[in-house]
Symmetry: C2
Subunit: 369 residues, 2 copies
């Protein structure tokens, strides 16, 4: 099924940092049909490097969406029953306004004059999209990693607009280690002279720095076990070490270089900086006395999912969400799924996740029917 990304333009958005963006575009896709009561809409929220193309086949490159194994006819998010929406995040580079967009005031890309954004800003722009679609209440908000943070932000900021939330492999705030990994990525980008303080549009982008940043990311997305299973110590295209430095020795080296190099073709380096900062700034507690206080007005029911081998967003972070929601007597189910795939599990090891989501959505839909 070919799905084309669409775009809607809004006049402006006011940001947490005080700035205003005008206009602001949102790239989005939808799958399935909105029912007459407009009660079957699910907002799917993408992770750091994702985009609006969550499912179906893209007309440009013929590639399936990033959660195509979860969204579709008969799948976890069953498009025969539900109307699924996915939008590229604010600050992104895949159709929604971001640093690579043209600043109408100058006629040039914003680059580093783009205002700093937050997960709150990202979610407020999504709400403008949902309002524009005329959907009064979302049956579910869901996503993994940064997508899960957005789901939490939705449930807290717009409690009367969310029936349920499924935050997956995420946290209410980054730990020092999570900030550190993001900071290394940013430093790698900014260390590349081609970054040129963000002014590389129309020229050579900071490809080497961005590739290094992505390589660090990939290691953190996998697990020790999944890397052992996939690569071990296997050599690349040879039987023995060549003792030459210009050469790849191990398959894992070749893989990282390949993934790093490929990322450069689809992602904007300045978006890398802005979006990782938004993740690091995110703290669901901020502006509240405590996490429990932040959840005070939450009415959504929750399905919280984490993965046993995810060391980037370890289960203890999901368990904190569950503990505090339970302490507020919220309706919350929690599952730690056994998987060897590390943080990537929510994208690649989805069989059990799909079953959990299917059941949770069915019971949620029943409750409001």
């Amino acid at each position: 099924m070919i799905v084309e990304t669409q775009t809607v333009r809004f006049d402006s958005i006011s940001l947490d940092g005080g700035a205003t963006l005008a206009p602001v575009d949102v790239a989005y896709e939808t799958y399935g049909q909105l029912n007459a009561q407009k009660s079957n809409a699910i907002l799917v929220l993408h992770a750091f490097s994702g985009d609006a193309h969550a499912a179906g086949i893209g007309p440009e490159n013929g590639k399936p969406g990033w959660w195509d194994n979860m969204i579709g006819s008969g799948k976890g998010f069953d498009t025969n029953k539900y109307f699924v929406i996915c939008a590229n995040v604010l600050g992104g580079c895949r159709g929604t306004t971001g640093p690579s967009s043209i600043n109408p005031a100058t006629g040039c890309p914003y680059a580093m004059s783009f205002p700093v954004i937050t997960i709150g800003d990202i979610v407020r722009l999504q709400k403008m999209l949902v309002d524009w679609m005329g959907i009064p209440k979302l049956l579910a908000v869901t996503g993994g990693s940064m997508g899960g943070m957005q789901a939490l932000e939705w449930a807290v900021s717009f409690p009367d607009r969310v029936v349920s939330a499924i935050p997956i492999a995420c946290t209410t705030r980054h730990s020092a280690q999570q900030i550190a990994f993001n900071e290394v990525g940013r430093q790698a980008v900014m260390a590349d002279p081609d970054w040129n303080a963000g002014n590389y549009y129309g020229g050579q982008p900071p490809a080497r720095g961005l590739a290094v940043a992505r390589m660090v990311g990939h290691i953190t997305y996998m697990s020790d076990d999944s890397m052992r299973a996939k690569f071990g110590r296997r050599l690349r295209g040879k039987d023995t070490f060549t003792y030459a430095f210009d050469d790849v020795d191990f398959e894992v080296e070749s893989y990282l270089r390949y993934r790093g190099g490929r990322f450069v073709n689809r992602f904007d380096a300045n978006s890398y900086l802005y979006i990782t900062k938004a993740m690091d700034y995110f703290d669901l507690t901020s502006g509240h006395r405590s996490l429990a206080a932040a959840f005070e007005n939450v009415t959504a029911r929750f399905l919280v999912i984490s993965f046993s081998s995810d060391w980037l967003y370890p289960s203890y972070q999901s368990q904190e969400i569950v503990r505090v929601l339970r302490s507020r007597n919220c309706d919350v189910a929690y599952v730690e799924l056994p998987s060897d795939y590390g943080h990537d599990s929510f994208l690649v090891d989805v069989a059990e996740q799909a079953e959990l989501v299917r059941g949770f959505l069915a019971s949620t839909f029943e409750k409001i029917a």
Copy 2:
């Protein structure tokens, strides 16, 4: 106690890759006195970025050695009883011949014409030093991380020269994840245009790339818990986010930039490439049917130590060493020390480690007396 690094020059060394280095210098320090029987010598082997200055105060900068908390009068390696030796590794940049040394054939630094080296080469050069000192048998070989790999290599390659071995927080071969982290560091160095294919001596070194590489390293040396305790989400010199990109927000960011920047002043980028490659190549099994076969002629007694929060060299890697040594009926003791400091534990959380070492050395020394 001021300790000056000394240097000895050997005519040449033949390397595993087939090349010969001539001449070759070794920088070393010694602490305590060699006894008349020459039976109290302990060879301490440094980790990736260490040097010969393991203990005492350096005359140049007044700084204590990297294991000064373990080596000295009354300490774990008690210099009242033992004669402790530490040498900078081959390929290093702190006195021992490495890529930044002058190639006598050209009068210029070797740079990337330096031959690829292995942990085996590093250890063979150490043996030349020990031979030159006239020491027939080492009471102990010991070190953490890459130092532990060298201790294992010593016990396997020169079984009749080693009474005991204390490999700490190490492995018999790098996993795919460990290779991957090293590869990201190398790619960060080589992505810096100032690296210039290794020809930066006399000019601007690849400071930004090397700093990024070091930042990645520092994250892997710490633990999630120790980073939380040390930094948490504390902001750096401000009470709230400034929403400006040229600024440091979190303390952990400031720390990483500081450590990355400082490393550049004391470490050579090409040494970074060569030594990480030597670690990745290292596989104690290679040339043998199995790890058990590699240990076939080992006569040393072992004290193997790992740390509970070390996720870079996880305990399962030390436990494999212990399991195989035991299967060969070797004399091996194993302790997993509880510590929150991650891989850095062997350098910073040494109270229990020192006690273990003290007892193990005393009983070893008794056995040969």
